[in-house]
Symmetry: C2
Subunit: 321 residues, 2 copies
Amino acid sequence: MIHLNKVPDKAAIDVAANRIQHFIHKTPILTSRILNEATGANLFLKCENLQKAGAFKSRGAVNALFSLSEIELKKGVCTHSSGNHAAALARAAALRNTKAYIVMPENSPTVKVDAVKYYGGQISFCAPNLAARESTLKTIQLETGAIEIHPYNNFTIIAGQATAAREIFLQLDMEPDFIIAPVGGGGLLSGTALSANYFSGKTKVIAAEPKGADDAYRSFKAGEIIPSENPVTIADGLLTSLGSKTFPIIMEHVHRIFTVEEHSIVKAMKFIWERMKIVIEPSSAVAVAAVFENKAYFEHTNTALIISGGNCDLNKLPWLT
Amino acid sequence: MIHLNKVPDKAAIDVAANRIQHFIHKTPILTSRILNEATGANLFLKCENLQKAGAFKSRGAVNALFSLSEIELKKGVCTHSSGNHAAALARAAALRNTKAYIVMPENSPTVKVDAVKYYGGQISFCAPNLAARESTLKTIQLETGAIEIHPYNNFTIIAGQATAAREIFLQLDMEPDFIIAPVGGGGLLSGTALSANYFSGKTKVIAAEPKGADDAYRSFKAGEIIPSENPVTIADGLLTSLGSKTFPIIMEHVHRIFTVEEHSIVKAMKFIWERMKIVIEPSSAVAVAAVFENKAYFEHTNTALIISGGNCDLNKLPWLT
């Protein structure tokens, strides 16, 4: 098994980028004069909402699946997730011709359940709490022998997510002052921080987090993991707590964490849909909101934002409720 | 004045592409496995919704403004339009440092009025009928001496719109079997038909039109212009009738016109937002709906669709009413 057992080094991220290149999109970076005028910054949106399965999660999932041998893959892979990792893992498993067992809370949005089914994932529903998710996953593992692929607390996943920022440095003809990534469990953020460290001498990584789910902010300040307690935010991809593998990387390489208000998230989301004509999910809008809430900080800077995904329920738009 | 006075030839379209290149986006072509599976065709979406000012109209407007001399531009330009041409013309005029006088019906959507204002256009409101629009425009022309830039019945505009299809042939590594463009006044469609004729030996151009505004379909069948009467469709960019300059080009070079139902337009629009994460306006969805309604016709073909624009009111989504 060539799953990574330590913090990915530069070579591991290069390997990941090379390994996944034919199975993911090299997503475009979009810019908008109107957005720049409204914020006072030069913003570069790395559009992972246009990624396969609609989110950056495809990077980590494909890297994980393609780092396993055929023998290891024989009994499939499994995870618990109500979100984008579930669909990305189901898709990656299908690419390797193996099974993906996905534990989803029974109140998962139909659109997410449908995505997992579309890619051929085998869903087991459970009660909507962490204990039920973990025990259901344990049972499935014992029954099937499937390998667990954690959504973020896994160095191979982190190396995969790191390829998004690596691509930014290859696509832009200059090194941005900042890259902003949203933070939930910290897979994308820690990968981004590693790539900035390895591939730039200059770019600082900033995290954006909803105030209603600010465990990363509080953990970062305290220097130890403080788990999320009853987080409340429309950014449903950012409800999870930091992991033991992501937190140390974040402590070492992330420059700062900004928290943002719910109304800013909704406003930023609508702004991007309206002016840039792309569908971004609330978790992605958190990064945009961080710029709008801190205009003085980002003024005249070149700042890349990772637009993490575009999966949302078009029947329930937050500005219409 | 180097406004074109005859049907654009190949050179005129090359000139237009060269002239506008620094002032418009070379928009991406997006593909989607899910869309291809749902339709049975290989579809290539030319994303003019990501164009400057949110629509292909920027191509024609920039070409028109940059084909005029400084002396000709001194007194500004004018048009009547409630839609994308208005914003595109205001933007193009600002690029040439001249004024754009825009006559808009008083019931124009706020979002369209705001776009024209954003680009510095000078708006005159009038009663929402063609007679009022034309008489108000005439008055403004007499008062200001501004040059009228018709939204579609103008060969320089047609040459500009033709650059979208020209770009498709440069971007794709093969010639598609079909290009589908929506048809309203016929500026985009006639330009697309000319480009297919000049730059491909193979690609057939197909028009898509709402059944509730099927003047182009009826004109095409009759061989003479039959004006639109009380058109009813959510595709608000396609309400206009064909023009004397666009119709003959369409008669000569367009292969076929498909009309589509309103519910298909809404369904196609939501499908593209949901699966491809891009915001497209109803007029763009008409082209997508034409494929969904005629799956047997497009099965296994390589078909490019011109996604004409992405300007819509996010507070009034057609699948939520």
